[in-house]
Subunit: 233 residues, 2 copies
Amino acid sequence: MTVVNHAALAVSTVIFALRPDDASALKTLWLPLVRRTRQPHEGQWALPGGWLPDAEQLADAAARTLHETTSLAPTYLEQLFTFGDVGRSPGHRVVSVVYWALVQSDEAARAAEGENVRWFAADQLPGLAFDHNKIVEYALWRLRTKVEYSRIAHAFLGDTFTLTQLREVHEAVLRRPLDPANFRRTLESSGTLVDTGRHVAGARHRPARLYRYDDSDAHSGHGPSGAPAPPHT
Amino acid sequence: MTVVNHAALAVSTVIFALRPDDASALKTLWLPLVRRTRQPHEGQWALPGGWLPDAEQLADAAARTLHETTSLAPTYLEQLFTFGDVGRSPGHRVVSVVYWALVQSDEAARAAEGENVRWFAADQLPGLAFDHNKIVEYALWRLRTKVEYSRIAHAFLGDTFTLTQLREVHEAVLRRPLDPANFRRTLESSGTLVDTGRHVAGARHRPARLYRYDDSDAHSGHGPSGAPAPPHT
DNA sequence: GCAAAAGTGTTGCGGGTACACCCATGC
DNA sequence: GCATGGGTGTACCCGCAACACTTTTGC
């Protein structure tokens, strides 16, 4: 078979985690970036990623580079978009298949950070290499849009969680307060929550119920059940 | 710069048009396929597409192959998904950036058709080459989902149209009847329609108003105005 | 008891659906 | 006039936002 093109194929990932903001009690979205150690854009911050190995699935390559930069495993990973503008990388044509990922907040606290890996507040990014600012902006829009109609918010949390914890994730992502009463009813009537029967004690108020998500598909958040979700590859 | 991967980069397009179905008065979704003239899958039907030229934008490559197979220009073109499973093409790794397109129905009637290009009803496809059946299924899901919340249906029509024509497009895509009265109000209150003042005469009933779409953005169908739409590249 | 957050009840508004009804044209 | 689709009016239902209220804990 003859390969007639020479564009390089890269895979990059926008990784989101929730972190407590300084001064503000609210959690905000943060993401890890890596400093480029070679041309082009040497010294600038960029999304984690790399060339696509011949024998590796696209999503696997995204999860791997994610792990290599943060030492974390994603709880959610989905293809975002493929960026391939002719001029987006100086010198050579590069087509980047970009994924976006969510990682658990408590794990993100002990994520790797070093000279060439640093976490940034998602809405206060410096000028990034290539078209990565535009990519992050689009990923943020997708995250905020999808949180409103899908059940991805729990990817920031552990297996079990209280409704208040889940509501705080929504509030942090959407940047607006939500009514606790209505939030509770909306999720309870969605049928995706399972009451574990356990409670969280210790706080000086009524103990909150612990929930977990119903994994029996049918609630994937993509149209009517049975509809094709975005391919998982 | 060192290119460290050798996966081949292809661009393919799922092209939709509405055509009158035999016997049934309703229009249904059709799409053009090309017969493969070489291995692998020689003789089988496949999506139009080709290798990505070094200096061509992704969307341009999609529009070009679309034009080469159908002699048509798309009225709507959007990136669908990038398919890159390791085993999806026998022998060599192929990553396909897939677009989906809508073409006008009246033009589709005079679209090119020949020995190696043929139109098929979208829900009665034969077994296609590679993973193209899965790709079409996903494109159909995206089209049907997006018609319900976005304003893409007019891409099947000309510059001006009656509300009945637009409703028939929705009905054909969604495969269910819609109430004419409510359909009218929903669209009128959406603020995206502009009354041209002209009417369609000649039928033996009250003449229908001709509308066109308001092009002054702000109604792109992607979240709140100003939100990043899927990159247009 | 008091503070604080969990959890419940209730009301009203708005968008969508169903369906009855009037309007304008060709024949 | 009559048939046919264009176009309007209206009542109902349901989901959601607002907000008052009750419950259960720690101190």
